[in-house]
């Protein structure tokens, strides 16, 4: 604790996990996350831990399934296509209430895509990802410092709620070097409380079973309802976000991970020009900071979502504000915007605010109110929506050149 060191994001992630008590890692090589297994293969044996290069991502996640069932802090990492292969095993872990930690250092997709940074795995991450009805806790770092400090949070949350927790990073966060300070004491795995569900050494107690199935009439639903209640509690208690200059801002840029870093640079440029722009960054993507985003509705006049995907993240933002505030989108699917490009989008969005002030202040759409009094506003809102749609279509066409 305390010391600042220069590290690569992937290595910070691995070191952070080890310091958080991780003693089992299995994975399969894939760019741009290879430094994670490489680092683990070097460091884990010295810590009395196990590193296994598995024959496939499928085998890797099932080794995790077995390791996690013994109560050990287990981790795997991969990048987009590899995470797809791991989804069945992640679903089994969720279904068997097993805590473990994994990281997706996202690359461009779909398919083999490319090996550059992207945010196209947003939906896969925040909607569970595999088959069946479940969630995983998703943390989105935007610095090497957070890459190193989030694994501990993930392990703790995973164990608290007995479910998988993940870091959603990308090729930039994995590859770039920055100073990092590990802000926690090293965790001694031997001092972690024993788990009353862990397998092995059944002397003096009844046998334990780890499984994700229950074929008895109505039983699976009971389990899912219990899990659903836990998810509700997580949505209440575990939301993390960062809001910067949002008070008094006309426009709030909403972005996570690498996009939020770029957006922060763009916002600085915009504020230097006198534009009132703030940044809202969800740190947990699930649970999503719905209430906090909805709270911006009465204050800011517009939101601008910046994401390195086609418009996945924006859906959650729009669900959160529920029509109470206009939401523009700057989408770069497998493209990395510059601060200047985002700055140009901010300026465009701010112009929109001046052009149609009535619309941006519009209240959420309410049913059952007398229509006459609201007609004017509704019309104005519709115009803005149309304009936004036209703009978006234009942007889509331009997308190819970017």
């Amino acid at each position: 604790m305390g010391e600042k060191i220069l590290m690569k994001g992937n290595e910070a992630l691995a070191e952070g996990a080890i310091r958080a008590g991780c003693r089992f890692f299995s994975g399969y090589p894939i760019t741009p996350q290879n430094e994670v297994p490489e680092y683990m293969s070097w460091r884990l044996p010295d810590e009395g831990g196990t590193f296994i290069q598995a024959e496939s991502e499928v085998a890797a996640i099932n080794m995790i399934y077995g390791a996690a069932a013994t109560g050990i802090r287990a981790m795997t990492s991969s990048s987009s296509p590899g995470i797809s292969l791991k989804q069945e095993g992640i679903s089994y872990c969720a279904g068997a209430d097993l805590p473990f930690f994994y990281a997706n250092v996202v690359r461009g997709g779909p398919g083999l895509g490319n090996i550059a940074a992207a945010q196209g795995d947003y939906n896969q991450s925040v909607r569970g990802g595999g088959h069946g009805d479940y969630r995983v806790i998703v943390m989105a770092p935007n610095s090497v410092d957070e890459m190193g400090n989030f694994p501990k949070l993930c392990f703790e949350l995973a164990e608290k709620y007995r479910m998988p927790a993940m870091v959603l990073a990308d090729g930039i966060l994995g590859q770039m070097m920055e100073p990092i300070e590990f802000k926690f004491e090293r965790v001694d795995p031997a001092k972690l409380p024993a788990k009353d569900w862990a397998l092995g050494n059944s002397a003096g107690r009844a046998k334990r079973v780890v499984k994700s199935y229950d074929l008895r009439e109505g039983e699976l639903e009971k389990i899912n309802l219990r899990r659903m209640a836990a998810y509700r509690k997580i949505e209440q208690d575990e939301v993390r976000f960062e809001a910067k200059n949002c008070e008094g801002a006309d426009l709030v840029v909403v972005a996570y991970g690498t996009s939020s870093r770029i957006a922060a640079g763009a916002i600085k440029l915009a504020r230097d020009k006198g534009l009132k722009v703030g940044l809202f960054r969800p740190i947990t993507l699930w649970p999503f900071p719905k209430k906090q985003l909805a709270g911006l509705a009465g204050k800011a006049k517009k939101l601008l979502v910046v994401e390195m995907s086609m418009g996945q993240f924006v859906d959650d933002v729009r669900l959160a504000v529920n029509g109470a505030i206009a939401v523009d989108l700057y989408a770069r699917p497998a493209g990395i915007p510059s601060a200047e490009e985002v700055m140009a989008e901010i300026e465009k969005a701010c112009q929109g605010i001046k052009a149609a002030p009535a619309a941006t202040a519009a209240a959420p759409k309410q049913r059952g109110r007398p229509k006459g009094s609201k007609n004017k506003k509704t019309k104005a809102k519709r115009t803005v929506r149309k304009r936004a749609a036209r703009k978006q279509a234009k942007r889509g066409r331009k997308g190819g050149r970017r």
Partner: protein, 257 residues
């Protein structure tokens, strides 16, 4: 009076839900007896597969985990490496082990994971209703090869022990059967040896057991036992294929001339 038989402590005392004549019950009992006789029940973790024996987590009286189809050896790897003091066994059928899980089977053997794999080969998919398995014989009917398995359409069945015998890491490989009392005794000896190897830290052990599936073979239990000797054993000869101390051994019983 001397007690000559009793319920093994390695098996939960409850009725099995397998079909009449199914071979799983015999192998379950053998494993249950081994856990007791070797005094390892309280430190054993078993892995139930996907297939008919998915419910094995209910039947073995030790800690159990049920996992994704074919991944038993990977799960076993995770458990054994995390808790080396535990005895870990994976119980798998032919579809689980030799089809969807072939990579995990081969690579856990190549790494010589110190685990025990019990492989039930009944040449058919049971749980899903009699589809072709990787070990279904040429000419044998299955619901996905209703006119019988042909080389042209389905290729050849896989001999798992012979395949794994090529690997340095596969330390103990034996194919057994349960179609007569004498063979049951031999199968138990092999399974006991496979657990003993793990206790002794010898590495990857796999025992293949030829087993009957009257329901999906469409035969009576008696006809099924005959099917084992007449059809299965020529394709799948019984014997020891590797031992920790020697390389590939010769097949000792059955085998095509």
């Amino acid at each position: 009076m001397q007690q000559v038989n009793k319920w093994p402590s390695g098996l939960v005392n409850k009725p099995l839900r397998y079909c009449p004549g199914c071979g799983h019950g015999i192998v379950h009992r053998i494993v249950g007896e081994c856990l007791e006789e070797l005094g390892i029940r309280e430190r054993t973790v078993g892995i139930a597969p996907v297939g008919c024996s998915v419910f094995a987590d209910e039947y073995f009286n030790c800690d159990m985990i049920q996992g994704p189809h074919g991944r038993g050896p990977a799960i076993a790897t995770g458990i054994k490496r995390s808790k080396p003091e535990c005895i870990v066994f994976s119980y798998q059928g032919d579809g689980d082990l030799a089809s969807i899980g072939m990579a995990e089977t081969v690579h856990s053997a190549a790494r010589s994971e110190n685990i025990t794999v019990i492989f039930i080969n009944n040449a058919i998919y049971g749980m899903t209703g009699g589809q072709m398995a990787p070990t279904t014989l040429i000419g044998q009917q299955a619901s996905t090869c209703p006119r019988g398995r042909t080389v042209q359409a389905n290729g050849y069945p896989i001999r798992v022990c012979e395949l794994l015998a090529q690997l340095e890491g596969a330390r103990y490989l034996e194919r057994t059967s349960t179609h007569t009392a004498a063979h049951v005794i031999k199968a138990k000896k092999a399974i006991r040896q496979a657990f003993q190897n793990q206790i002794d830290g010898k590495g990857f052990s796999l025992v293949e057991v030829l087993s009957i599936c009257p329901t999906n073979w469409g035969l009576t239990p008696l006809q099924s036992l005959k099917f084992v000797t007449e059809k299965m054993m020529p394709m799948y000869p019984l014997g020891v294929f590797r031992t920790p101390d020697a390389a590939a051994g010769a097949a000792t019983e059955g085998g095509a001339a």
